[in-house]
Amino acid sequence: MDRRGFIKTCTAVAAASLASPSFFISSLRAQEVEFKAYKKAILLKKDGTPLKPEEIDPEKQYLFFYPHRATPCILANLGKEIPPAEVKLSDGTTYRWPGGVGPKKSIVAYCAICPHQLSYPTPEFSFINYYPENIPSKIVKRGGVIQCCAHLSVFDPAKGGEVIDGPAPFPLTAIILKQEGDKLYAVGTLGKELYEDFFDVFKPDLRKLYKSSRKAKKLVDKCEVVEVEEYAKEVIRC
């Protein structure tokens, strides 16, 4: 074996063994599916006043950023009472999602990062969207779903974000909302989070939008709610 050949073959092996295996094991362990509390953040309109539950139109989809400044969430009024649900995972286990909030218990929110390959609404495009009853999905031929048009994952917002169709390996992360008087608050997340991957993968894009990763990751205590159509230049449905 010549020297160069030996180096070529062995460098990768040697480099791999430099890192402690326990480091990788700890960083890769599956996250527990449980409620995770973040800063309590009030949902506000563009004018800075609190968003009232009855102001959320069932025929529209809304966007806000929580728990981090750069992590998008879909807010929707499903137009009917949404009871708590057991959310099924592909390994057969379940967790309990508390259902809708608001006077009709019809308002829900989910992280708008697709669990399949991380598509999310940007100022340019929104490939992952809520389809109200009046805008049915062409894939599952009905409204009342959240769907990502990149690879056709479809989720049920009335069942804790459970996967209805397509390649997503697990449900959307639910954003837990609370109503206090006529104000709405986001208080935490339920389900597998994707924030670590999101900040890693989209670092260059987020730096452009937020100047630095630190600023993009900042936890928020108030959230401006806008219509998705106002935020993204193009809402792509399928």
């Binding site: 074996m1 050949g5 030996f6 070529k8 073959t9 062995c10 990768a12 092996v13 480099a15 791999a16 890192a19 295996p21 480091f23 990788f24 094991i25 890769l28 362990r29 592909s90 390994d91 057969g92 697709c114 399949h116 390959q117 991380l118 598509s119 495009f125 490939f127 062409k138 894939i139 048009c149 990149a150 690879h151 056709l152 169709d165 397509g166 390649p167 390996p169 991957d197 890693d200 993968v201 193009e234 792509i236 449905r237 399928c238």
Partner: protein, 421 residues
């Protein structure tokens, strides 16, 4: 006085070169490169869509696994979206990704070397410098051009590349297109199965768009061994009617008998075609290494696997991606999906149990019909391991849309995120 001839034709020279290259393959070394496997070593051969995904997802499913990925190239270059590159819709650099994050983020051992042999009974993979033992083997070797029956394809690949293998063929084909000043352009399509069924039709559409945008006077001869586009037939045929009427001649069900790159002539059973520039896409097969190690039966071209688990006749040896006979069309996205199926099975077995849930194979293909619009299809097989029930979904959207083309980019970006971040 006639010129003195060397007596060696261009074809013979190329053939001799091929023999010399083959002769230079290194002999099998008997030194062991890594310690003995202890029940948790997965060796993945091939760093394309299937191999990279398999390596990453086995590690994600079971962090205790020792995953080794062997890939001969230093850089991943994507075939999906390479037609975009040919006509200048994206830069070549956008197709390229390094393998380093697989190691630094996921702990996959990446070895940049060539596999010269595999000993299935002894569970060894031989590299140029020695062998590695494995407990589980995932082979994702892609395709080779099948030139055995028609050796003229060896020559056409040098002069008018099929560009269905990543890397330099695409670079050269783009240069040829940019040098092309007009007259006849040809694209040939081999009989199914071949890698990425919509790709030749997409390439034809994009090159025709390029010809129009650049004001070239040219006519395309599209010589198809198939009777019609094997996928998205309605969408492609409508696109040709809508956009390219009179610019192309579609010769279907044609058998190519000979191609002479010197006189630039293709002989087919439907007549001869003279061309100035083209992309000659050869027939394809699984790499011969898979035949040498006994995973291909008789004169078959692809590896037979369990179509739901991708396990071969040898337990714990899996073949995924374009090399295997699969229900999904051969494509990068399908290989990515198949790799996740195998990762689940392997991770379960390492924990001492058989996977008992649902295995989902999912295929989504997009194809451009001009520089701005695309069509798409989705295929899915859901297999319940316990009940053996299989559910199939097939959806085609043959209506060309600008928004579908935008989804196409996001589709590719998502795949690359899934593999390399």
């Amino acid at each position: 006085m006639p010129r003195k001839s060397s007596g060696v034709s261009r074809r013979e020279l190329l053939a001799a070169g091929g023999v010399m290259l083959a002769g230079s393959v290194v002999a099998k070394s008997t030194s062991r490169l890594m310690g003995p496997s202890r029940g948790k070593r997965i060796v993945v051969v091939g760093g394309g869509y299937g191999g990279v995904t398999a390596a990453k997802y086995v590690k994600k499913e079971n962090p205790e696994a020792e995953v080794v990925l062997i890939e001969k190239n230093q850089l991943f270059v994507s075939c999906p979206l390479s037609n975009h590159y040919l006509v200048g819709l994206i830069e070549y650099g956008q197709l390229c990704f390094p393998y380093n994050k697989l190691h630094t983020k996921y702990g996959v051992k990446v070895i940049n070397d060539v596999v010269v042999d595999i000993d299935l009974p002894k569970r060894r993979v031989y590299l140029s410098e020695g062998y590695i033992e494995y407990d589980y083997l995932i082979l994702s070797l892609g395709i080779e051009y099948d030139t055995e029956e028609f050796p003229f394809y060896e020559e056409t690949t040098w002069f008018f590349p099929g560009a269905f293998r990543p890397g330099s063929e695409h670079l050269y084909l783009k240069r040829l297109l940019e040098e092309f000043e007009g007259e006849n352009v040809v694209i040939t399509v081999p009989k199914m199965p071949y890698r990425c069924p919509p790709a030749p039709y997409e390439r034809a559409a994009l090159i025709l768009s390029y010809i129009r945008e650049n004001g070239l006077k040219a006519h395309m001869y599209f010589i198809d061994a198939n009777e019609y586009p094997p996928v998205l037939r309605d969408g492609f045929m409508k696109a040709y009617e809508d956009f390219y009427r009179g610019m192309a001649t579609y010769i279907t069900g044609a058998k190519i008998k000979d191609i002479d790159v010197g006189s630039k002539k293709i002989k087919t059973d439907k007549g001869d075609v003279r061309f100035d520039f083209g992309s000659i896409i050869p027939p394809m097969r699984a790499p011969k290494l898979l035949e040498r190690i006994g995973l291909i039966y008789g004169k078959e071209k692809w590896v037979r696997v369990d179509p739901m688990t991708f396990e071969t006749k040898v337990r714990n040896v899996f073949v995924i991606g374009d090399s295997c006979e699969s229900y999904l069309p051969k494509s990068g996205y399908a290989a990515n999906s198949q790799a996740k199926v195998v990762a689940k099975i392997v991770a379960s077995r390492m924990k001492g149990r058989e996977f008992g849930g649902e295995l989902i194979q999912h295929g989504v293909c997009y194809a451009m019909v001009n520089l701005r619009s695309a069509i798409m299809l989705e295929v899915e097989y859901k297999y319940n391991v316990r009940t053996k029930e299989i559910k199939k979904i097939l959806r085609e959207d043959n209506t060309w849309k600008v928004s579908t083309a935008k989804r196409y980019y996001e589709w590719a970006r998502g795949l690359w995120r899934d593999m390399f971040f």
